[in-house]
């Protein structure tokens, strides 16, 4: 039973939780690539021999990776230096089948693997993770390899740059399924082409309070983008956290997708969220204060909390910190607390497995303790 996340990293939180560019609204940027090896069935039809071979060649290719630190430029300037000594390092390999159920859930909450991968009963399902969690590779998910890079704030091009380099190194080792006309071949035809999903996670409490979130979704859809919740498709926008990502992968290059999302779409959404926040502060201050301090009050005094309630209220507390209404706590600590109050995180943080009732009590205790100094 192994978990690629050391106990100290659970408290520290994922690397992407640190404040990055436009960090008041943008939580993180993520690029994910799907890759399949030529001459081998996709995971859904693989036999045991192919699975073993996939694992062997992937381990060999990943062990040769030479990871670079993110380049120091205007975009990543605020990122560098915050986690000294964490990059570059070797990736840690973990077999999904050998992990405890709780550790699998932990990786899902951390966005390192998908829910489907965590539930996979495939013999050779595995993942590679970098200790700072910026880079991870799922092996034997829907595709042979799914490479992912997550960076803090609005830094999609930096994430793409890092993942492109990793992809180049792996491609030099392995023969990927590729056709000039269709690009990278994937198990699901909706991913064929550049096989890239570029997404940015945004915190949009003001837009949600103003009832304008559907307009954002519609505008995104018109541009072939989708808006999903915190944990992707099917998850509600818990804590007002929304992911904007590309819907199509064929006919547009990675750079075009990156440029569209990072330079054109997300800045507009960020500007809209800031504008609504300003309007709320100036014209509906009493309403906003009521929302924020009700949330803070319940967090500071509740004795039992469900994860949904904690996430929703902490979202408003985060808004209150950014609007200057709540002091005594850093906004990143609130974001981190949203992650720490998720079921698997909570149990691993406290070092014991608990039933639902115990978790609700422990969650309330943790939130009370962490928000002790927060006030208006």
């Amino acid at each position: 039973m192994t978990c690629p996340l050391p106990p100290e990293s659970i408290e520290r939180g994922a690397d992407w939780l640190r404040r990055g560019p436009d960090g008041d609204v943008v939580i993180s940027s993520r690029v994910r690539l799907a890759r399949n090896l030529a001459g081998m069935s996709f995971p859904g039809r693989m036999n045991g021999g192919e699975s073993t071979r996939l694992m062997r060649v992937t381990q060999s290719a990943v062990s040769c990776l030479q990871l670079k630190a993110l380049k120091s430029d205007a975009v990543t300037g605020s990122i560098e230096g915050l986690t000294p000594g964490l990059t570059p390092e070797k990736m840690v390999w973990t077999s999904i089948g050998e992990m405890a159920v709780l550790d699998r859930a932990l990786l899902v909450e951390r966005h390192l693997i998908s829910k489907e991968h965590a539930k996979s009963d495939r013999a050779r399902a595995a993942c590679f993770t970098l200790p700072d969690e910026r880079l991870s590779i799922m092996v034997n998910e829907e595709d042979h390899l799914r490479l992912q890079c997550v960076t803090p704030g609005l830094s999609l091009s930096a994430a793409w740059e890092m993942l492109d380099d990793v992809d180049d190194q792996i491609e030099a080792q392995l023969d990927m399924a590729f056709l000039p006309q269709l690009g990278y071949l994937t198990a699901c035809p909706t991913n064929v082409g550049c096989a890239a999903r570029m997404s940015v996670m945004l915190h949009l409490p003001a837009i949600r309070l103003a009832g304008e979130i559907e307009h954002v979704k519609r505008a995104a859809k018109d541009m072939n983008l989708t808006v999903r919740g915190f944990y992707g498709e099917g998850s509600e926008a818990a804590g007002d956290l929304f992911q904007i990502s590309n819907q199509t992968t064929l006919g547009r290059s990675e750079q075009q997708l990156c440029e569209q999302i990072e330079s054109r779409v997300v800045p507009q959404v960020v500007a809209f969220e800031r504008k609504v926040r300003e309007e709320l502060v100036s014209t509906k201050r009493r309403y906003l204060e009521d929302q924020i301090f009700r949330a803070l009050g319940s967090m500071k005094f509740a004795r039992q909390l469900t994860p949904e309630e904690a996430t929703a209220s902490l979202s408003l507390v985060r808004l209150g910190v950014h609007c200057g209404m709540i002091t005594g706590i850093e906004p990143q600590a609130v974001t981190q607390l949203i992650l720490l109050t998720q079921p698997a995180h909570l149990q691993r943080l406290l070092g014991r497995e608990m039933d639902q009732q115990r978790r609700r009590e422990a969650r309330a205790d943790l939130v009370r303790q962490r928000l002790e100094k927060a006030g208006g």
């Binding site: 994910r32 030529a38 001459g39 069935s41 996709f42 859904g44 039809r45 071979r53 996939l54 060649v57 060999s60 489907e116 991968h117 495939r122 998910e141 829907e142 799914r146 992809d167 491609e171 030099a172 080792q173 392995l174 023969d175 590729f178 056709l179 000039p180 006309q181 269709l182 990278y184 071949l185 198990a187 699901c188 035809p189 909706t190 991913n191 064929v192 082409g193 550049c194 890239a196 999903r197 309070l209 559907e214 979704k217 519609r218 505008a219 859809k221 989708t226 999903r228 992707g232 498709e233 992911q243 819907q247 199509t248 992968t249 064929l250 006919g251 547009r252 290059s253 990675e254 309403y287």
Partner: protein, 257 residues
């Protein structure tokens, strides 16, 4: 909710879609495939344990469409059920075979069929793309909003002509009988010619183009071609304006990918 107050709006489906209040995302793979390949009868449904519903890179799972027929964007209509599964003969190039006069496909490497793709939303192996290229192209173009050609990254070793350190390809790779990219382009070209000929009511040319398309394994042409055949059957001596219009519409539908 708007500033904490409940705002109630009663909208029809169209207005709700315009207001962005319907679930995001376009038609799923299964929905699109159901328009090309209708579900097989229950006794022909392939069972494939372990294969989940298809998803995108964020792993949403898309349900198989319960019905075939036209999707929201119109376009490709169904082909007969008896052509979807388990009918490809052995030894046909890239799985392209014939059943009831209409091309069908089976992957020569993993034996996956279009019916299985429709049910699971997932292809079996990279070779499936080559085997099902004529059927997949209109689906891909529709899902990817017209983007039918890759214009992103190409593996650097391919550009440099270098072999990978480890190759997972079979050592004795069967040489393709046809250049599939050229085939796909030729099919697209001929589809344009077919539509133009039908618009001009030049049924002789249309029938020749249709036959050529069917020979190349174009499922849509096989279906649209039955309409041309109907026009062929009544000869070329006019009086069939209504039917001709119908054929032209059918061809236009086929092109609307």
């Amino acid at each position: 909710m708007r500033y904490g107050k409940r705002v109630e709006r009663r909208l029809c489906e169209r207005c709700a879609a315009a207001a962005g209040m319907l679930p995001p995302g376009g038609p799923s793979v299964s929905e699109l495939l159901s328009q090309i390949v209708p579900p097989a009868p229950p006794n022909m449904q392939p069972s494939q344990p372990g294969v989940s519903q298809a998803g995108n890179l964020d792993s949403p799972k898309v349900p198989a469409s319960p019905t075939g027929g036209k999707g929201p964007q119109g376009g490709v209509g169904p082909i007969p059920p008896d052509t979807t599964d388990d009918a490809a003969g052995p030894g046909l190039p890239f799985g392209i075979g014939m059943a009831m006069g209409v091309p069908i496909a089976r992957c020569p490497r993993c034996s996956a069929t279009m019916g299985q793709l429709r049910d699971s939303g997932l292809l079996g192996c990279p070779t499936c793309y080559e085997a099902f290229l004529p059927q997949l192209l209109p689906l891909l173009q529709r899902y990817h909003e017209g983007g039918g050609f890759h214009c992103g990254k190409t593996p650097k070793r391919l550009v440099a002509g270098q072999p990978p350190r480890v190759s997972t390809r079979p050592k004795r790779k069967a040489k393709p009988a046809i250049d599939l990219v050229a085939l796909a382009q030729q099919i697209q070209l001929l589809r344009g010619k077919l539509a133009a000929a039908l618009m001009d009511e030049d049924y002789r040319t249309a029938a020749m183009v249709r036959d050529e398309l069917v020979r190349l394994g174009d499922v849509q042409a096989g279906r649209a071609g039955r309409g041309v055949a109907a026009a062929d059957g009544v000869g070329e001596d006019a009086e069939h304006g209504g039917r001709s219009d119908g054929n032209a519409d059918g061809a236009a539908e086929g092109e609307a990918t």
